[in-house]
């Protein structure tokens, strides 16, 4: 009896990604990207960000359309709650980066995914941002991501997907390592 080898269908074009990796390893200049967002204050703590263009592969690039994101603070902060808080955007960024990585690694390893769900929790002591206690940092004291994954793979292979996704994740790196940030006023 022979078993036909099925190819996982996770909707990730791994061949294209591998071809891009091959091409960029011979052309490091094309691998230099700039991601951009603009942000405009509306009222109170509400602001709106727009993301449309970015730079990469040696030229200006565009999303299919401009995406806008409202950020605000919830009512318990005496705000209007027009959008999620900026720190929640950080959680969104982390989870979506890791999940994209899980899908890409699963495709590369020919693992069929049926469902991938992540819950992200960030612990924060707001005595930091309120300036109550200078020993408390402004940012998260810790972030926990919990995955529920249903896939054609055993537990160890699923754990390996999640571990490899962290290893290659840009947002995971941004959060776990320091980054120089320069803010200037025109």
């Amino acid at each position: 009896m022979s078993e036909a080898k099925t190819i996982a269908k996770n909707g990730v074009n791994v061949e294209a990604l591998i071809a891009a990796r091959e091409a960029l390893s011979n052309a490091p200049a094309a691998a230099q990207f700039k991601w951009r967002a603009t942000n405009e204050w509306k009222n109170g703590t509400h602001s709106q960000s727009t993301v449309e263009g970015f730079y990469g592969l040696g030229q200006e690039q565009h999303h299919k359309r401009a995406f806008t994101f409202d950020a605000d603070h919830p009512v318990v902060f005496a705000a209007e709650d027009i959008g999620i808080t900026p720190v929640e955007f950080v959680l969104v960024g982390l989870a979506s980066c890791l999940t994209a990585g899980v899908a890409a690694v699963a495709q590369h390893r020919n693992i069929q995914l049926r469902s991938v769900k992540a819950t992200v929790e960030g612990d924060m002591d707001i005595q930091g941002i309120l300036g109550i206690d200078s020993d408390v940092r402004n940012g998260y004291s810790g972030i926990k991501v919990t995955y529920d994954i249903d896939a054609d793979a055993d537990r160890e292979d699923i754990e390996a997907l999640v571990a490899q996704s962290q290893k290659r994740s840009a947002v995971y790196d941004v959060i776990t390592n320091p980054t120089n940030v320069t803010v200037v006023v025109n």
């Binding site: 490091p28 004291s141 810790g142 160890e156 754990e159 390996a160 571990a163 490899q164 962290q166 290893k167 995971y172 959060i175 776990t176 390592n177 320091p178």
Partner: protein
């Protein structure tokens, strides 16, 4: 290689900047033992016949072993001869040394993979009051000031140095990035025995999916401990060594910052070890060893505290020394032949360098997984010397 060239009657000399086994004499710490058991140091025409096949050679024993082998094969070694440049000529190479020049048709680069300690660029931001040394410069704990020590890097060198320094009474913090966990003994046999028997060490460079990545994998976290104990992160934690994330940089005021990725670094390593042990178990079953060796088991997962520290204040934490065990790179600065890629790495196909008649030896996964081991030199030398022989014949025919 010299032995294989002699066997093929290829006239050659071996140039050595110091004495035979120079780097073992001058660039290793005192207590170092070979990571591989005695039986495994097989060289062309040499196999271990002593009464301790499972032991690990001490540093003086390694030096004696290499020196004795050089004498046994009557290697034409020119000691105290430092190569200053290698250049292409019309029909071969000109090798300049501090004792005159050599003209040759072929040249073998066998100067090693571990000449220069590879330390991160941000090392220049370490506060002046903190002493820094590399794993290459480390000899013994009494070289170090009293007080805490930050060992950066948790591969084979880093874990062994952390162990020895901590035992000396200097509290050690070990900064951990990517590493490869491995038990010294598995199912009653040395891990190297399993990897050798199951063919893992013989895996060829041209049968590997991503050879560039395989060549960058850090060394197995193995130590040649006399009691064959495993020196993994759990063993170090049990001694009191403190585990901390990968060193990410230094703040303006000289505090160290560590990545928040320690949990994943350990998870990746535990999973990778699990895959190696699965492979060994499969091989043992297929080869009828189940029941004849100890049953399969898995070491407990690496223990990591819930929230490892992300910073270090050298003054407050009383840390006086940093030891960089962050890997090594080769020194080919004397090689004036355009064979390097954009990152300064020699382009080669399994040791056959992209310049006619030039060969490379002793690099990580050069032709096989074992290429950087003493035990790997023989097979590589046999194949590369065969290539060299046909290259020389081909040239002679024209």
């Amino acid at each position: 290689m010299s032995r294989c060239l002699t066997d093929r009657a290829i006239d050659h000399v071996v140039l050595e900047r110091g004495e035979v086994a120079h780097s073992w004499r001058t660039e290793r710490w005192d207590s170092l033992r070979l990571l591989t058991p005695n039986w495994q140091s097989r060289l062309p025409g040499f196999a271990y016949r002593g009464d301790d096949p499972d032991g690990y050679r001490t540093l003086p024993e390694v030096i004696d072993f290499i020196t004795a082998y050089a004498q046994m094969i009557a290697a034409p070694v020119r000691t105290r001869t430092t190569v200053t440049s290698v250049r292409r000529t019309d029909d071969g190479y000109r090798v300049c040394t501090d004792r005159g020049d050599w003209l040759c048709r072929t040249v073998v680069l066998a100067s090693g993979a571990c000449n220069i300690a590879d330390i991160p660029r941000f090392a220049d931001r370490v506060p002046r009051a903190i002493a820094q040394l590399t794993a290459q410069q480390y000899r013994r704990p009494d070289q170090l000031a009293d007080g805490g020590v930050l060992v950066v890097g948790a591969s084979s060198s880093g874990t062994q140095i952390a162990h020895e320094v901590h035992k000396s009474g200097r509290p050690v913090t070990l900064s951990i990035g990517e590493h490869i966990r491995a038990p010294r003994v598995y199912r009653g046999k040395d891990l190297e025995w399993w990897m050798d028997a199951a063919g893992v060490l013989d895996e060829r460079y041209d049968a590997i999916d991503d050879i560039a990545r395989a060549r960058r994998v850090p060394s197995l976290q193995l130590a040649g401990t006399p009691d064959r104990s495993t020196l993994d992160l759990n063993a170090l934690t049990a001694m009191g060594v403190k585990l901390i994330g990968r060193l990410a940089g230094f703040t303006e005021d000289g505090k160290a910052q560590f990545a928040g990725s320690l949990h994943n670094m350990c998870a990746l390593s535990d999973l990778k070890m699990g895959r190696l042990l699965d492979l060994i178990d499969d091989w043992a079953r297929a080869n009828g060893l189940d029941g004849k060796v100890e049953p399969a088991s898995r070491p407990p997962p690496t223990r990591v505290e819930a929230a490892p520290p992300l910073g270090m204040d050298f003054t407050k934490d009383r840390v006086k020394t940093i030891i960089w065990a962050t890997g090594y790179r080769p020194d080919h600065s004397w090689l004036e032949v355009p064979v390097f890629d954009g990152k300064g790495v020699i382009r080669h196909d399994g040791g056959i360098v992209c310049s006619p008649g030039m060969y490379l030896m002793g690099m990580q996964f050069l032709r096989r997984r074992k290429s950087a081991l003493i035990d790997g030199a023989g097979d590589d030398a046999r194949e590369l010397s065969a290539h060299m022989s046909s290259y020389l014949d081909h040239r002679a025919a024209h």
